[in-house]
């Protein structure tokens, strides 16, 4: 009897992984619980255990293969009295094994165009490069957070930093957000430049008092004496199937508070340029990443001094009929929506906000004055959200140019459900953007 051993899903967002190493050979007898392979996920390298007894009949995927989709058969388990099958080399022409097809381009819908003096890298790599470059040039920059050092980052964003910079620059903290956020703030008051990683921003709620009351307000309360050059960064928003307490967008929470700067990158270019700006900035910066984006690849400038200025939005796609205003993961969805709208004869302009506070109102208003219609897009709750703020800004500055009321596409006004179908319903989808744009263009 032959059992297929499948590529396991080892994290909520894992769709594929690298089969780093086989720990067994063809012909080895194994028992349930034996380690058989090491698999690299988007978060970590994991050891995989056998769940059945038997003999390894065949290794279907060679060690070192990247991009092996979850549920792909990776080995065959046979009865212990059977003979092993043929070697893996003979099946190397199977499509899922062809390495050249498993390039980063395949991870997003459209191939990435390589820009001059740039490399195609993932958002994760861009964030890591930004930190490493700034740490090389400024000894005051250090990283602290849960699992950032020896574990190499819960989402591998800090991978390699400990090796390069050592334990005087990269600190694993206990799981005590309130305490270590405060320690980071104290270090910033002491003229250092901490990068504090929250494993996710959901956990930063434990540290909210320190972030708002200490980091954001002290400069003002000290009459300008007590600058706090600190970056709080980590994934924000929904990941995948982790339910209400682990899937929330905090953009509007932090943007509400004077004294903070709030940025949220979409592409690798944004990630690198914005993070470097955030680290160099003399003020506290909330840096909202998105777990789903970590593995996506984009062209990113190699230049060590490439910066994306805080407070500057970017027009990702020009159009004349409707302005879509989005940030983070919603930029990609907005671009997809723009393509669909194009087929329907609606030319959408897509603005990638990049910074939420300060908000680039000028770029938004100029665009709305051109298109006369606006749709905002965010993953967060609708009530008192970023879309509400943008809508107010458009009303205040471009009311006479509007041909339709501003429409908001947001996450639904409910705690995030766990069930896959409900989660999908709760999150804003490309279709929602297409529908909203069609509505404001009266082409429904």
């Amino acid at each position: 009897m032959t059992i297929e051993i499948l590529m396991p899903a080892l994290s909520p967002t894992m769709e594929e992984g690298t089969l780093a190493k086989w720990l067994v050979n063809e012909g080895d007898s194994i028992s349930s619980g034996d380690l058989i392979a090491e698999i690299e996920t988007d978060k970590a390298t994991m050891e995989v255990e056998a769940v059945d007894d038997g003999k390894i009949g065949q290794l279907l995927v060679p060690a070192g293969t990247e991009g092996v989709k979850v549920n792909t058969p990776i080995a065959l388990l046979i009865d212990s009295n059977e003979l092993p099958h043929t070697s893996i080399k003979t099946i190397a022409d199977k499509p899922y094994l062809e390495k050249e097809k498993i390039t980063t381009e395949l991870k997003i819908d459209k191939p990435v165009t390589l820009e001059p003096n740039s490399s195609i890298i993932t958002v994760r790599e861009a964030l890591r490069n930004a930190m490493a470059e700034e740490m090389r040039s400024d000894k005051k920059v250090f990283v602290m957070g849960e699992e950032v050092a020896e574990y190499q980052g819960a989402y591998k964003v800090t991978q390699g930093l400990l090796d390069e910079f050592g334990n005087k620059r990269v600190y694993d903290t206990p799981i005590t957000e309130h305490g270590f956020a405060g320690i980071g703030i104290g270090a910033a008051f002491g003229n250092l430049k901490p990068i504090v990683e929250f494993m996710t921003f959901n956990f930063a709620m434990q540290a909210m008092d320190q972030i708002i009351n200490s980091a954001a307000k002290t400069l003002y309360m000290s009459g300008g004496q007590m600058g706090c050059p600190i970056v709080f960064r980590g994934p924000n928003g929904a990941a995948s199937r982790v339910a209400a307490q682990h899937s929330q967008c905090y953009a509007s929470w932090y943007s509400h508070c004077p004294g903070l700067k709030v940025v949220s990158p979409w592409s690798s270019k944004d990630a690198k340029g914005l993070l470097k700006s955030a680290i160099r900035d003399p003020d506290p910066v909330i840096f909202l990443e998105n777990e789903v984006m970590y593995g996506q690849s984009f062209s990113c400038p190699d230049d060590n001094d490439f910066l994306v200025p805080i407070g500057q939005a970017n027009i990702e796609k020009e159009g004349s009929d409707v302005t879509i205003i989005a940030f983070s993961i919603m930029v990609g969805k907005s671009l997809e929506a723009a393509d669909i709208l194009n087929e329907k004869g609606i030319k959408a302009e897509v603005i990638n906000l990049r910074s939420l506070r300060p908000l680039d109102i000028e770029t938004i208003i100029n665009s709305v004055k051109k298109t006369n219609r606006a749709v905002t897009c965010e993953e967060g709750f609708p009530f008192a959200g970023i879309g509400a703020e943008i809508s107010a800004a458009i009303n205040e500055n471009a009311f006479d140019w509007l041909d339709a009321p501003v429409k908001r596409v947001t996450g639904k006004d409910v705690p995030m459900p766990y069930a896959a179908n409900l989660e999908k319903l709760a999150l804003p989808q490309v279709d929602d953007i297409v529908n909203a744009c069609s509505e404001v263009c009266y082409k429904n």
Binding site: G186, F189, G190, L192, M221, S222
Partner: protein, 334 residues
């Protein structure tokens, strides 16, 4: 542990203390007390608004510890912070002008009683949220260690703050990372209106450091010499890179928690009894007398301090209110 004036005076070793140092400490404690009395008065006149937490009774703690510090050490405390600022040699004029909310205040009138700072003097606030200064203090200590200097951070908090979770998060990290921080618990027996016995489990607040491997000592915070001796020991320990240290100062505040506190949670007798037997300023005055300092000298100190305070009060009332344009400054640096 309990000492009163007679035991302090009888203690021969104290008689060998450097006279100038004692006089300086006396002067500083008196400056704090007179400052606070004036602040209370100005509050009553409506010149100071909001919350105002006076330090009267606790002066020996901050002055004794300050006498053991060196240039470059940092200090951070709670909202009962006037005494700490004066101990750091911040100008009483600037502190008082902040209390009155004027442009010459240390925070340009934008911080008030609870939020004042002086980087120049190593004073990092003045924090209004109970215990928020504790991780911040550990972070300042982190910056000393990171920069490789020999400085330490003195982190003050009260018995009320000692029940906040972030204190223990800070203990844990400070001990793990061997941060040069001295946690000074100013145990004045009441967190606002709730006595330590009614709010805190266990015998001594300082015992709670044991779980984190942090050395601690209970000190008579009304006896400035005991405070100084303990501080020298603790600071030395920290400077040698051995990690954090806890000093629990048993002290007492004579006034209410804030100006609006009717203090029904304790008797007048209790306050009077402590004033009579353990007042830190009276204690040192008697000691100075015994050491041969004549009343005339002490009187002169008194007069000098009164004039400093009068000047500060006048300055604080003459300084203009901040310009409306200040409303939108200092929110971010760029």
């Amino acid at each position: 542990m309990k000492k009163n004036i007679s035991s302090l005076v009888k203690n021969k070793s104290k008689m060998n203390y450097d006279l100038d140092l004692l006089k300086d400490m006396y002067k500083k404690m008196l400056l704090i007390r007179r400052f606070e009395e004036k602040a209370g008065q100005l509050y009553g006149m409506g010149k100071i608004g909001g919350f105002c937490h006076l330090y009267i009774g606790q002066e020996a703690v901050v002055v004794g510890i300050q006498s053991a510090q060196i240039e470059g050490d940092s200090i951070v405390t709670s909202y009962r912070d006037h005494g700490h600022m004066i101990a750091c040699d911040m100008d009483p004029k600037g502190v008082m002008a902040e209390l009155t909310g004027r442009e010459d205040g240390y925070s340009k009138g934008k911080g008030g009683s609870m939020h004042m700072f002086s980087r120049e003097k190593g004073f990092f606030g003045g924090h209004g949220i109970v215990a928020a200064q504790v991780p911040i203090g550990a972070g300042l200590a982190f910056s000393h260690k990171y920069n490789g200097n020999k400085n330490v951070c003195i982190t003050y908090f009260g018995d009320g703050a000692a029940n906040q979770g972030q204190v223990y998060e800070s203990y844990n990290i400070a001990s793990l990372w061997q941060l040069p921080v001295i946690f000074v618990i100013e145990n004045n027996k009441y967190g606002m209106g709730t006595s330590v016995n009614r709010s805190s489990a266990g015998d001594n607040l300082s015992d709670r450091g044991k779980a984190y491997g942090i050395k601690s000592e209970i000190v008579d915070g009304m006896d400035i010499i005991a405070v100084r001796e303990a501080a020298i020991k603790a600071i030395e320990y920290c400077r040698l890179g051995k990690g954090p240290y806890i000093l629990e100062m048993k002290t007492y505040r004579y006034r209410g928690h804030s100006m609006s506190d009717p203090a029904k949670y304790r008797t007048r007798d209790e306050v009077e009894q402590i004033r009579k037997t353990s007042d830190p300023i009276e204690n040192i005055k008697v000691l100075l007398n015994k050491m041969g300092v004549v009343d005339k000298v002490l009187k002169d100190i008194d007069v000098e301090i009164k004039s400093i305070i009068a000047d500060a009060a006048k300055f604080a009332q003459d300084s203009p209110e901040p310009s409306p344009s200040e409303l939108y400054t200092d929110i971010t640096i760029n």
